[in-house]
């Protein structure tokens, strides 16, 4: 088989891409991330291509042109990050980003911007508080305050075009690693860079590679852990969708470092687009001779197989993931032996997360010291976060370690969203960081720099980067229950204390929320949480109590309020609420009487009404209908 990539061909491809890009006078990038697609970005793309064909603008949808003319290039990208505002249409070099674009807006964009070189003001991003307009990613605070390195190319290149990746120096680092570096050098560079695992544990990647490298075995594996399962997290999915080749290249470099000739990507099947893109990337890399039996003429081979998992959270745990690839039930086994010693099919195996691997090519392009200089001393580089919850700008962001929570929530995230849709930083209550394995941070942590150590010390963890913002109308006990329910459902059921312990913790939280608890309930909950944390077999069980422990640590009074006074301060716990009509505010308009489904409210016109608590089902319809805020106690 004579299909081996060499440096000349690689350079040719890169040069051709670059020269073609000089012929692209304008680039219109329609976001093809899952969020934007769900909001109809494909229709926007189709409409744009259709309408451009009717104009005299020389628009192309791929880079297959051979002529020397100038073109407008219409392309799909991966997730551009600003998911709250999708579908996004970015126009360069004009520095324009149109938000919430609908197919009906396309004709105006074509007419005014692409043909007329002017801006459609109404499609620009407006600050929800000040109303200020921003043209494009260079000045929208959501983007301007980020440091996008891993995510840099996502949103800029066509993820389905390997040439575009090569055009951005792609695969040159892999070439260099395979042909000019020793395995030891690669590991040393990785150690120097300070990169730590982005999947949750934060183990130094270079050391992990080295541990696998020193194992003597003819067969070794590199696995990419793409089993992203935290509720609200979508960093890895976005990388696989938006820049799949960076993961392939990262795996190639890792393979070279540890001496693996086979790799697996374990991705959940409920990420169909990510599966499709990464499979295509692997195929393309194979077809042009980057992956294969003779990588870069070294006569060593490397192949990658995509394994689609069924979406079990526990399969993010290394040993469960390995079991799943082996065709067994995804259940963890005790360590040691660590995967580096006996992993997939009993062979030395290195498992890295998607984001970790996609940072690898960048480290080798720019040098380990470049990477080391970003972030904090112990936590080098940047971290992506999926910012969701009660925040103005939900989306995918990337910031250097050491950035404060306030910077993320207030400046990048645009502030906290209140119940009535306003933006108000004062409404910040907490942020759950690290998903169901993490913990919550509170107001007092807003100005602390975020990195592995400080987060762990605060009872949270970096995790894979889910960041859920909560406003002051969020019941903290319900939040704890939400995550507990998640981990309970996702516990593999193998070890007693995790399986049964999470179930009972959930039951105890239910008791608190249902008003059936006493202070002893909280004590038992806390004791059980500690037992599960130290007694469980794997990471899932060991971290499952974190949301409970963290909320107990920072919001003990709110728990106490639930059990002592049987009151939920945010009125979210129905069993603890009781509707009341404030006589001084009630105008006696009878509106509440009409909406009450149970006929629980009585009263005469223009006289204060009363609620029969025995009949009230606490649905809150009356409070919602009252124009005078006269009904309290129900949300």
């Amino acid at each position: 088989m004579n299909n081996t990539m060499n440096i000349d061909t690689l350079t040719q491809i890169a040069d051709k891409y670059k020269s073609q890009m000089t012929k692209i006078t304008r680039r219109v990038t329609i976001c093809g991330g899952t969020g934007c697609i769900a909001n109809g970005s494909q229709n926007v793309y189709d409409e744009l291509v259709k309408q451009l064909a009717l104009t005299n603008i020389d628009a192309v949808v791929d880079l297959k042109f051979e002529d020397n003319k100038d073109h407008t290039y219409v392309m799909h990208s991966g997730c551009q990050g600003f998911c709250q505002m999708g579908p996004l249409v970015t126009i360069e070099p004009d520095n324009i980003q149109y938000v919430k674009v609908k197919p009906a807006d396309v004709s105006e964009i074509v007419l005014k911007t692409l043909a007329g070189n002017s801006i459609v003001e109404r499609l620009l991003y407006h600050d929800p508080v000040t109303g200020q307009k921003f043209n494009g990613t260079k000045d929208i605070p959501f983007y301007a305050r980020q440091n996008r390195t891993v995510l840099k190319n996502i949103g800029h290149i066509d993820p389905a075009d390997i040439k575009a990746y090569i055009g951005q120096k792609g695969y040159f680092s892999a070439y260099n690693a395979w042909t000019n570096m020793t395995d030891e050098d690669i590991c040393n560079d990785m150690i120097t860079s300070g990169l730590r695992g982005r999947g949750g544990g934060g183990f130094p990647t270079g050391r992990k590679w080295n541990l696998t490298r020193i194992e003597k075995n003819e067969k070794k594996y590199i696995i990419c852990n793409a089993d992203e399962g935290d509720p609200g997290a979508f960093m890895d999915r976005s990388i696989l969708e938006g820049n799949p080749h960076s993961v392939v290249e990262g795996m190639m470099i890792a393979a070279r470092a540890i001496g693996a000739n086979e790799g697996y990507i374990y991705v959940r099947t409920e990420y169909p687009l990510a599966c499709k893109r990464i499979k295509q990337a692997i195929n393309d890399a194979k077809n042009i001779g980057i992956l294969g039996d003779d990588v870069f003429g070294t006569s060593n081979g490397f192949k990658i197989t995509v394994m689609e998992g069924a979406g079990a959270f526990v399969c993010g745990e290394e040993t469960a993931l390995i079991a799943s690839i082996e065709g067994k039930r995804g259940m963890p086994r005790p360590k040691p032996p660590f995967p580096a010693q006996a992993g997939l099919f009993g062979k030395p195996t290195c498992i890295n997360n998607v984001e970790t691997l996609s940072a690898v090519p960048l480290i080798f392009q720019n040098g380990p010291t470049w990477f080391k200089a970003i972030g904090t001393e112990k936590s080098a580089g940047t971290k992506t976060f999926a910012v969701t919850g009660n925040v103005a700008n939900t989306g995918l962001i990337e910031v250097p370690f050491g950035t404060t929570l306030r910077e993320i929530v207030e400046n990048i995230g645009g502030g906290v969203l209140t119940e009535d849709g306003k933006v108000d930083m004062d409404a910040f209550k907490a942020a759950q960081i690290g998903g169901p394995s993490g913990g919550c941070l509170t107001k007092e942590h807003l100005d602390m720099p975020l990195d592995y150590e400080t987060l762990t010390a605060m009872g949270a963890m970096v995790g894979s980067g889910g960041l859920v913002v909560m406003n002051d109308q969020t019941c903290i006990v319900q939040i704890a229950r939400f995550f507990m329910r998640f981990t309970q459902n996702e516990s593999c059921g193998k070890c007693t204390i995790c399986r049964e312990g999470t179930k009972q913790m959930l039951a105890l939280l239910d008791d608190i929320i249902e008003g059936n608890a006493t202070l002893q309930t909280i004590d038992l909950l806390e004791e059980l949480a500690h037992s599960v944390k130290i007694g469980s077999l794997c990471g899932l069980g060991k971290t499952a109590p974190n949301p409970v422990l963290a909320t107990l640590k920072y919001f003990r009074t709110e728990y106490d309020e639930h059990v002592i006074n049987k009151r939920c301060p945010t009125k979210r716990c129905k069993a603890l609420t009781s509707a009341e009509i404030l006589a001084d505010k009630c105008k006696g308009c009878r509106v509440c009487i009409k909406v009450c489904p149970e006929g629980a409210i009585t009263g005469e016109l223009k006289k204060p009404h009363t609620i029969n608590k025995a009949l009230c089902i606490k649905c809150g319809a009356c409070a919602q209908a009252c124009k005078f805020n006269a009904i309290t106690g129900v949300a």
Partner: protein
Amino acid sequence: MKSLTIDNRIVSFENERNLLEVIKKTNIELLTFCYHSELSIYGACRLCIVEIDGRGIQTACTTKPEEGMVVHTNTKTLRNIRRTTVELLLSSYNHNCTTCQKNTKCRLQSIAKNLGITNVRFKKSSAIPKPIDLSSYAIQRNPNKCILCGDCVRACNEIQGIGAIDFAYRGANSQVIPAFGNNIASVDCVDCGQCSRVCPTGAIIPRSEIGGVWKELDNPNKVVVAHFAPSVRVAIGEEFGMPSGSIVPGQIVSALRMLGFDKVFDTSFTADLTIVEEANEFIKRKEEGGVFPMFTSCCPAWVKFTEQHYPELHQNLSSCRSPQAMFGSISKKYLPEMLKIDPKNLVVVSIMPCTAKKMEARREEFKTDGMQDNDYVLTTQEFATMIKQCGIQFNTLQPDSFDPPFGHKTGAGVIFGNSGGVTEAALRYIVEKVENKPLERIEFAEVRGEAGIRAASLTIAGEPVKIAVIHGLRNARQVIERIKSGEIHYDFIEVMSCPGGCIGGAGQPVYFKPETRKNRAAGLYNADKMLQQHKSQDNQYIKDLYKDHIGEIGGEEAHKVLHTHFHNRKRIFHEGVSIIDTNTAKLTVSICVGTNCFVNGAQDIMKQMLNYVTEHSLENIVDVKANFCMENCDHGPSVSIGTEVITKANAKKVISELEAQLEQITEMA
């Protein structure tokens, strides 16, 4: 020698499997649910946790002992977690101890007691009870008592290589169930009951037939006879505080008489009978150039296993019935006349160390006029329960003697209960008969031992005879595969499903210590020594039986009464669907379109195959079939062409094989 510190005591260690075994040396036994020395290490029950300086809390079963390790087994944290863990289990599962068949033998019960748990702080599960699976004759599954320790799953997989049960669902919904939640009788279970042997609670227990037996004993018109298997006599004492391996056949006879049995016989008698038939079958095969290896067929779980997985080996199995089946058969046939009773009133109760014997007794081949030859099969455990029900002080009973004629046996029939025992008993017959001179030595130590696969080579009358002795069906499968691949050859192979043979059967008293099985095995070999005769051929009552009733060894009557046949129980063996079907076909192509093969591209192979056949006008020469699962899912897609099976097939591979075979056909024509 290396050493470590356990609770401030220095302990030396060598090659202990794990820290748990080292801790045992300090007279501390950490209680566990999921640790079994003969199964893989699982680390799930979390009860054997210890604190190791510098490493925090670890499970002792999963930790390798290391030089200088400082281990604490009894700290406040450890006690709290252990207590919490057991409380959690008690809150979740049904524990109506007093009415549970496992009462006083339940690990959950004993651990809760040892940890001093007197109240459960957690809410009792309000889940709707799951139905009890009574589909099997051998075992019953009560999922409400399952604590998910996984012991049964590993026993089924690691001892038998079957995997009839496994984990399903997640979190608190986790369950151990047969595939797709089917009942146990409809999956690959061979009824060996090893799952029930390792089950720490009452979640899997042998099915009980005690009620039926009492009904017969209470009926004055019935003549109820009992026979009990060799290994029962060295195990039942354990139920009554006697040391394991105590040899108590006489006490059993006494107890049976006290319970009201009319006659007490010995299954070892028909074990002798089995040897006479089986050894002769072997000699005949040797003389006439029959099929080898010849496998034993005494173990019903093994027989069912071959029926399900290796029906092609049925001609290799000895056609002899098992001692239990022979006993049932000869009893029903000859006893009424001997005892001068109405055949309708004869009830045969078999007492076995085995759960699979319950299934065996219900096989159609072992019924006469629709009635089971063995009407009831009790396990050793059930028999002990009956004794206890009557308050009989078994351990102080005076021994009594068996009834003639089926109570007389030789030592050969007694060692049947040990793995290697059938082989040794057969050799005592074969060597004497073939060499045609009195046997010089009785003991064949080369076939004794504990290993799961043992091989021996003997020279009998100058001819080399290769023998294998296997226990555990996983081991059996391994040997069969090696035989099929031509890698090894044996003349005679004994297979017993349970560890150590029948002494380790699932119907035996529950035991946790590996020594127990060793003691039982030694007990049987001692019982052999204590008897006057050691060779089945010397049993006068056997000789009489042939003279008076059966006639010739291996003759027509013998075949009717003492031999059997086997069934193909492969779950998928039907023909599949014909896509191209003519009468003139010279070659059949079967393409597996089972789920796994389909997913891996069988559909494409099918399409291209059909194209190929039509394009080359081969419709009259090649038949094409769609097959549903060739049970080769690991290596799919599977395609068979003629007798050739292609695994990991693709269209190219299949078509080139087809072309090659077509060429051969044309050449032959």
